[in-house]
Symmetry: C2
Subunit: 562 residues, 2 copies
């Protein structure tokens, strides 16, 4: 029997597919067994030469080419609409397309350029994709909920339906960006896999046996397939960094209050112990920087009451470049490496990627010490409580709108029905515990000044984003490596390092899992399945170090050849 | 019958009094009827000439004189210990004294100076008083609770008892400040009057018929009597600004996250919808600036996980000076004035002070428009909810430790016993409402760019801190003028303007109160009682505008002769 939610979900799924121009539809979608990797040559076969050239140029390069008059905004937009259409058919990464509106903006931009002989802003003609939490006028936001179809965040007659735009969307338009699609998310947003009852499962384009990550998994997959040069996701437990890492992209999880979240849809909105933050993912570090820096140039602190009055600080960025150019030993960067958090050890490809970054940095003359922080266990317990303060009320209400079932991934976090909510006192106690842990961690970070040899504490901490290159479906069992960063509200950048290699990446003979959680991760490793998957690391910085960490991402990316 | 809490309170009260050196004890304390105003000549009679000179020099002047070698840190410390001792006897403003420790630090500072021919830091030898929320080693923190006597925040065997120091205390010591006393607060901190079962009631030294304000009321009274050149209070609903205003002082309520609150005692600690903030009060604007700027120079963001990485920004301060020096009309400052919030009208002296500031600014060539913001009623309801999220659990537990009764002022806020706590969902809803109001207010602020003639929105909003010059005992009936600033998390500076004058300050003939709340304030006005009381205003700036607002405070203070 087809229930109401099923037919509504199917209608929406069809509508997404039908929104892709007929000329760009694929006759046949190969299975993962037939075609594991759909990036590179596979997707290129459906594009012409100029489309390939455009879509394989990064956001910075596109901005330059359009500003130079080499490419029109329209031709760039068309190329990305085409490639995004292919991407969606291959891995289910889109929730909304609005190609006509995008082409109309592109035309206006070209017209402006022709008339004024200059760009409208630093993102003039650059296509930017958006996670399906951003409100864009004339476009729906479902966030993966069947019950949100045809509504504004679940409310049918809300006057904002179809007209409201998130603050960031307004700022991107003012910068000249071309908005053209919104990307898939797991319903509730609280998963490292992207799955919902509308589009199904978003697969990893580099390896369609594994997930694209989540919750900004559509962004990860789309940008991974170069169907977008860069886009914005959000991160409350790893949701920018996980898809960036799993798709071989650069990304940043800024400190809360740096970039504007104002006017976006969210889960458990109003929970303010651990805030979700918005940030960019892109194919190059310099593109992530461009997207961060240009948004800050829009003075978001005058438009979002939670944003801090802090423009892009060139001096903080330059300080990194000055150090890496200097040859003095006092002038080196210093890092710590956390090979394991002591709770779950990373699988072999991830351990190899972490080691490769350490090796690259030490070879370049920088110092890397061991990170021995206060146990993350306490912090993870604190952070995970914030996800269930309301006992699941908010997400269960959203499911209740349509009667749709929870995915297995979400069921494991939120159960079949809401449970008892936290009281104000319990929330306060958790906030105090969190602050106390943050203080302890901060003091530990300061204490590394004794070890670095520079008299200053480490500049960043190199560690995994997840214990695996990417999770296999329904096997995302451990979030500790991403969540600790949210609990501390640190700035973190993701850097792609390598790909899994079945000939190199094996657990050592007789490996003994350190506990049950580690055992799960150990048992879910399969060198054959993972072969070819992207492997990335994150470098974690202190609060409000976006300029510094992006400079480090660019530098380290260069060192390891990305 | 003398109960246990009464004898414990009395013993503590006696201990405070006995901690004042015998030589500084007053034979007789005149009643308010006998001696309304104990500032100026009255208190001076008990001091020698040099003590008067030292204690009537502001913090900046003291720092200069000590740095020049004119005064020793010891002589400065002794003078302030003496004057603070007199102050406490006259108005009950101290909870703790630690003069011996202060003199020992002063001696060390003098020794350092003699040896190195330079100061240890920019506050070398400057006495700084602290509200009784700061933990200082070897000194108790009762926060006015009988049940906290002999404990660490109510816990008897806490290892931090007697040894722990708040982050700010460490930073002040590093700057060379001399710490010597902690000042009175209302139990719970949630009152604009300072009253508790230990020290009783802290009176306004300029007019002992009225209150000294709260909750940093001991700071206000002590600095008002020049028993301290400057000190630190905290503000969650006006607690820095109210005592600053009521005692003719300058003060600043910074945006949350600017100055370090780490390691301080608090009420409802962990409630994080509206955060209490720490900030200085002093006799001059430049001293408030000195205390703010020097703390920021200690990089508190490396020691307090809630502080934002934002050093003192000279450019923001200089921009104000550049504008006021410029003669161009485009270069003027622009303000808005909120003569009334539409809920309660200010009493005549306050209305006159607001008008005087507007007149001074317009005469100096600056523009002042009318402030017509979204109704504050919504915001006040949101902010007041945050005070009772836990239904009074935290404060009732503190009272329960000793069985002491609540003061009338606190009973009206927290009742006889705890009530139902807010749930996580209710707190989230309130957080969403708050953010939405903040956004609306921010947009209104931006919109004033259309009215100012400079193309920029107003630089600040001039308005009352309270509807009265100071409250009469048990008549602090309306907090709207201070609380709206906390709800919006704006930076606000207090500027003393004038004193109440019974010959000038009368309600207009036939004044009709606009509602019941206004009626209370109207009926509580008495020109005779208020005669001579300080009258102040606040100028409210946007978030994170401490440098700008302190420059404005200094400039406006100069314009009106303070």
């Amino acid at each position: 029997m087809v229930t109401d939610w099923q037919s509504r979900a199917e209608a929406k799924r069809d509508a997404i597919l039908k929104s892709l121009p007929e000329k760009w539809r694929l006759q046949k979608i190969p299975s993962a067994e037939e075609q594991k990797d759909v990036t590179g040559p596979y997707i290129q076969q459906f594009l012409d030469e100029q489309e390939v050239e455009i879509t394989e140029t990064d956001a910075v390069g596109i901005a330059e080419k359009v500003a130079a008059g080499t490419w029109s905004a329209v031709s760039v937009t068309e190329a990305f609409c085409h490639r995004a259409s292919l991407a969606h058919q291959l891995v289910n990464c889109l929730h909304e397309t609005f190609f006509d509106a995008a082409l109309a903006s592109a035309k206006e931009l070209d017209h402006y350029y022709a008339q004024h002989k200059k760009t409208i802003g630093p993102l003039h003609g650059v296509p930017v994709s958006l996670k399906d939490q951003f409100h864009v006028k004339g476009v729906e936001t479902t966030m993966g909920y069947v019950g949100w179809i045809g509504t504004f965040e679940g409310t049918k007659d809300d006057p904002r339906k179809g007209t409201f735009e998130s603050e960031m969307v307004k700022e991107l338009r003012a910068l000249g960006a071309v908005l053209y699609c919104k990307t898939s998310v797991p319903h509730t947003l609280m998963s490292g896999e992207t799955v919902n009852n509308i589009i199904g499962y978003t697969w990893n384009p580099k390896n369609r046996h594994i997930c694209s990550g989540g919750s900004s998994g559509g962004e990860g997959a789309l940008i991974g397939l170069k169907g977008s040069p860069g886009g914005f996701g959000t991160d409350i437990g790893g949701s920018i960094r996980i898809p960036a890492a799993f798709n071989g992209l650069f990304g940043i999880r800024p400190t809360s209050g740096r970039l504007p979240y104002e006017g976006m849809a969210n889960s458990m909105d109003g929970q303010n112990s651990v805030l979700s933050v918005v940030g960019p993912l892109a194919t190059t570090a310099r593109s992530v920087k461009l997207l961060t820096k240009t948004i800050l140039a829009q003075t978001p602190w005058l438009h979002d009451p939670l944003v801090v009055d802090m423009p892009w600080r060139d001096a903080e960025e330059q300080a990194v470049y000055d150090i890496v150019k200097s040859s003095s030993s006092k002038g080196q960067l210093t890092f710590a490496v956390m090979k394991s958090d002591g709770i779950v050890n990373p699988q072999p490809p991830v351990a190899r990627a972490v080691a490769a970054v350490v090796e690259a940095l030490t070879s370049a003359g920088h110092k890397v010490i061991e990170w021995k922080p206060p146990s993350h266990e306490r912090l993870l317990a604190i952070a995970l409580k914030t996800w269930v303060y309301d006992g699941g009320k908010d997400v269960h209400e959203a499911f209740g709108l349509s009667g749709e079932p929870l995915s297995t991934q979400i069921m494991s976090a939120y159960g079949e029905k809401p449970i008892k909510e936290f009281t104000a006192s319990e929330i306060s106690a958790n906030n105090r515990d969190k602050r106390s842990f943050q203080k302890e961690y901060m003091d530990y970070w300061n204490s590394t000044a004794q070890e670095t040899g520079t008299g200053k504490p480490v500049d960043g901490v190199i560690c995994p984003v997840a214990p695996f290159p990417a999770a296999r479906p329904e096997k995302y069992s451990y979030y500790g490596y991403s969540v600790f960063v949210n609990g501390l509200d640190y700035t973190s950048v993701v850097i792609p390092v390598t790909t899994s290699d079945k000939t190199k990446d094996q657990y050592e003979e007789g490996y003994k899992p350190i506990n049950d959680e580690d055992k799960k991760v150990f048992e879910n490793y399969d060198a054959e399945i993972y072969d070819g998957a992207h492997v990335s690391v994150q470098i974690v910085g202190r609060r409000y170090t976006e300029e510094k960490m992006l400079a480090i991402a660019e530098y380290v990316g260069g060192l390891i050849g990305k």
